[in-house]
């Protein structure tokens, strides 16, 4: 309210004027403003979010000055001048902070913040964010947001979302900026945890698939899954189970629903084998662990798939080895019986031939029988070799010497249009093997190579020292790691397909026409190498030739010189008493007849027990030699020999057998000092062996 006087022309006051203004509205506006101010203050003070009022005007001025000085690339400037960066921080003025800020930074009072920005709360990670902040001010941005890391006054690390906006009216000067810090430490920790979890998932050896239980589409997959299937993660997430799983049909909705139901019914996990298809169309076997999961009302199928290609390969090899073992046992049993029969056939044929005049019409027929029986005997011998039950007398030898000694014979085996190259390694290690057996291996492999090169080619025999390491052994279940001598026989022939290689060492497996091969050649090699703790491997590609590699354990012992046995047609005779113990009557009688003809006195028994009874009854007859079968019912040859040696300390023993167990041999290898004649045998072989054993001095054995 204002009062003033009104004067007339001579200056006398004639009126009083009152001026009144209605200030209700103005007062209301002021009141509203005050209330708003209070509300803002209350909001600022009580906000659960850390709020700061800051003054960037000095910083802004400083930045402008840098610009004026001609600095165009501020980012680079700050990177090059770390000190300038920290100087700028000091120029930020803190005007006010709220209660939440004290709590966030574990500060005791506002005074800790006000004035120059406290650099103590900035950690190493926040400096980069600060550069961005300075650049935003330089660019004149009214709003800004960035993630940063600060330290509290207690030293704790906090991940923060920093946001600021310039107060209206301060856009040019940056004199008033409202800053907020949202604590995202927990979120960040979840993120880090999630990252860690994902890293673990990705590095898992198994492929992991998370599938939508309704649609069968992949929701998540790990890196192993991508790698195994050859897809990128993005590509794989567009696909579903039906696109990669081919072992069971999941194409239709009902099939998928049934599949999911089956997993649900299984309880915790359903284990299943499957076959998955890669992007390039190739497939691989997997072992699946499936489970049904519910999360936030959604149903998922979690599948963990393990590539079992390698496991399956090892299983297959094991099955193969087991099959070979089974076939071997079967073949061994058959061979035992055959040997007895062939001994009789050969023996009686031989005896008949001796009693008949040479020009008798039946003589040539008998010779035919004899030849056939000998061929049959060789076949049985090969079978036994395969079963590793052939009785052998291994020697320490250098296979280079052996190969060279039979080179001429090998040359004769192959046709003239095949070039034979022998590459013996110098200083080749020694091996322990029956030379006859090793010869058989070479011959069989050479014959195989010859068959592969009907149009001629090149055949290489190479030897070398080699170490088979743990890794090789883990790939080949049947191999022990160690030092080996290797012989490789390499041809340039037709090669073999993978399926053929799979079965190549099985007996009676042959690619030759019926009647062309026995299918025992490579099986024999396999058996012989196995019997000598070795390993045989084949490498072949169709049309690229084949290489067989034979590995035998390397020894450090010196080899013995190969001895040549000389055989003559002369049948030695004698007058000693020989005790023949053999359960197979044909063999027993045949042997008795042969030896009787040669002048020996013969005693006979069908088994060990019967033999011992005979001796007590006849009051200890004179016996110079015991010929006994190894395996017989009611006391075998080994025990019998031991018992007789107690009665006759000087008695000689000759074992005959077509099939041996460990009574006199270990794994088919004769113990030292044991005399042995393998069945089937000819009358000549028997007579010669008997004379040899009778003539040897005590403790000496015939090689």
């Amino acid at each position: 309210m204002t009062f003033f006087p009104v004067r007339n022309t001579v200056g006398e006051i004639i009126q009083i004027v009152a001026l009144n203004e209605d200030v209700t509205e103005r007062n209301q506006a002021i009141e509203a403003l005050q209330k708003s101010e209070e509300r803002y203050r209350s909001f600022f003070d009580n906000s659960p979010i850390s709020l700061w009022e800051e003054d960037f005007s000095v910083v802004k001025a400083y930045l402008d000055r840098l610009r004026n000085e001609g600095i165009t690339d501020l980012r680079r400037y700050f990177e090059d001048h770390p000190q300038a960066r920290t100087d700028h921080i000091g120029l930020i003025k803190v005007v006010d902070v709220n209660q939440a800020t004290l709590e966030l930074y574990q500060a005791e009072s506002k005074e800790a913040f006000l004035g120059e920005l406290d650099q103590e709360i900035l950690s190493e990670g926040s400096l980069d964010a600060l550069i961005e902040e300075l650049l935003a001010i330089d660019e004149g941005k009214a709003q800004f947001e960035i993630e940063t890391v600060n330290r509290t006054f207690a030293g704790d690390k906090k991940y923060l979302l920093l946001t600021w906006s310039v107060a209206p009216g301060f856009e040019k000067t940056y004199g008033k900026v409202l800053v907020s810090f949202i604590d995202v430490t927990k979120r960040k920790q979840y993120e880090l945890e999630l990252t860690r979890f994902r890293t673990i998932l990705n590095q898992a050896g198994e492929a992991i698939f998370v599938t939508n239980a309704q649609t069968g589409h992949f929701i998540d997959v790990n890196e192993t899954a991508c790698r195994l299937l050859g897809y990128s993660r993005k590509e794989l997430l567009k696909l579903g189970v039906a696109d990669i799983e081919i072992s069971c049909s999941l194409k239709t909705t009902s099939q998928w629903v049934a599949h999911v139901e089956q997993i649900k019914q299984a309880g915790e996990f359903l284990f299943r084998k499957g076959l998955q298809r890669r992007q390039d169309g190739t497939t691989y076997p997997v072992e699946l662990m499936l489970s049904h999961q519910s999360f936030e009302g959604e149903d998922y199928i979690l599948a963990v798939a393990r590539d079992i290609t390698e496991q399956k390969r090892l299983e297959d090899r094991l099955h193969q080895a087991q099959r070979m073992e089974a076939v071997g046992q079967l073949a061994g049993g058959i061979a035992h019986n055959f040997n007895n029969m062939l001994t009789a056939i050969m023996g009686y044929t031989g005896l008949s031939l001796e009693t008949l005049p040479a020009n008798h019409p039946a003589a040539s027929d008998l010779q035919g029988i004899q030849k056939t029986a000998e061929r049959a005997a060789k076949l049985v011998q090969q079978l036994l070799a395969f079963t590793s039950k052939q009785v052998v007398q291994p020697q320490i030898l250098n296979i280079n010497e052996l190969i060279i000694s039979i080179k001429i014979m090998l040359r004769q085996l192959i046709s003239e249009d095949i070039e034979l190259v022998i590459l013996p390694a110098p200083e080749l290690g020694q091996v322990k093997i029956d030379p006859g057996q090793f010869e058989q291996v070479i011959v069989n492999l050479i014959l195989n190579a010859r068959a592969a090169m009907p149009m001629g080619g090149k055949l290489t025999i190479e030897t070398t020292n080699i170490i088979l390491d743990q890794e090789y052994a883990s790939q080949h279940v049947e191999v022990d790691p160690g030092d080996y001598v290797m012989m490789a026989i390499c041809d340039t022939g037709s090669g073999m397909a993978e399926e053929v290689q799979q079965h190549i060492f099985e007996p009676f497996f042959t690619t030759k026409d019926v009647g062309q091969g026995t299918g025992l050649g490579l099986a024999t090699c396999f058996g012989i190498v196995k019997q000598n703790s070795g390993h045989i491997a084949v490498y072949s590609e169709p049309e690229q030739g084949t290489t067989f590699k034979v590995y035998l354990p390397r020894l450090e012992e010196t080899p013995v010189k190969l001895s040549q046995s000389n055989q003559s047609d002369y049948l030695p005779t004698g007058d000693e008493t020989i005790f023949i113990v053999e359960d197979e009557i044909t063999v027993r009688e045949m042997a008795a007849r042969i030896l009787h003809q040669q002048g020996y006195t013969i005693l006979r028994a069908a088994n060990g027990e019967e033999a011992l009874e005979l001796i007590t009854e006849q009051a200890k007859p004179t016996i110079h030699l015991l010929i006994t079968d190894v395996i017989m019912p009611r006391m075998g040859g080994g025990i019998l020999a031991d018992k007789l040696k107690n009665i006759y300390p000087t008695i000689k023993v000759l074992y005959i057998s077509g099939y041996t167990d460990n009574a006199i041999v270990h794994h088919g290898v004769l113990e030292p000092g044991v005399n042995f004649l393998p069945k089937p045998f000819t009358p000549n072989a028997l007579a010669r062996k008997v004379r040899g054993v009778l003539d040897q001095a005590d403790g000496e054995s015939l090689a």
């Binding site: 309210m1 204002t2 009062f3 003033f4 006087p5 009104v6 006051i13 004639i14 009126q15 009083i16 004027v17 009152a18 001026l19 009144n20 203004e21 209605d22 200030v23 007062n27």
Partner: protein, 118 residues
């Protein structure tokens, strides 16, 4: 010279002059009427309340805004009826004292006063 001493001719001349003056003044009044009217409208429509008192404190005029401030409808409600120096409310608000100071030649500003007419 007094009028009785004037000659008839003189008087007639004077009358003529007066008649002319009157008609001149009449013309002036007519001429100035719009200006007065404008001033009246101006005062009447000022958004600020204006109340005019004579030296005895008697209200001789009040504009629309003043009436509104006091919650009145017609100027008759205060003109000739409201006296600044006798109004107890005016005494309370300090308006009376202000009036006296104005008569002494001062210009007086009073702080905002709250009138509750409800």
């Amino acid at each position: 010279m007094n009028d009785e001493a004037k000659t008839k001719t003189q008087l007639i001349t004077e009358l003529g002059t007066m008649r002319r003056r009157v008609s001149e003044l009449e013309a002036l009044i007519v001429e100035q009427a719009p200006i007065r009217e404008q001033l009246q409208h101006l005062i009447e429509q000022l958004p600020i309340g204006v109340q005019i008192f004579d030296t005895s404190g008697q209200c001789i005029d009040a504009n629309e805004a003043q009436l509104r401030i006091f919650g009145l409808r017609q100027s008759e409600q205060i003109i000739g009826k409201h006296n600044l120096f006798t109004d107890p409310m005016a005494e309370k608000t300090g308006a009376q004292a202000a009036g006296r100071r104005v008569l002494a030649g001062e210009i007086v500003r009073l702080p905002d006063v709250h009138f509750d007419f409800s």
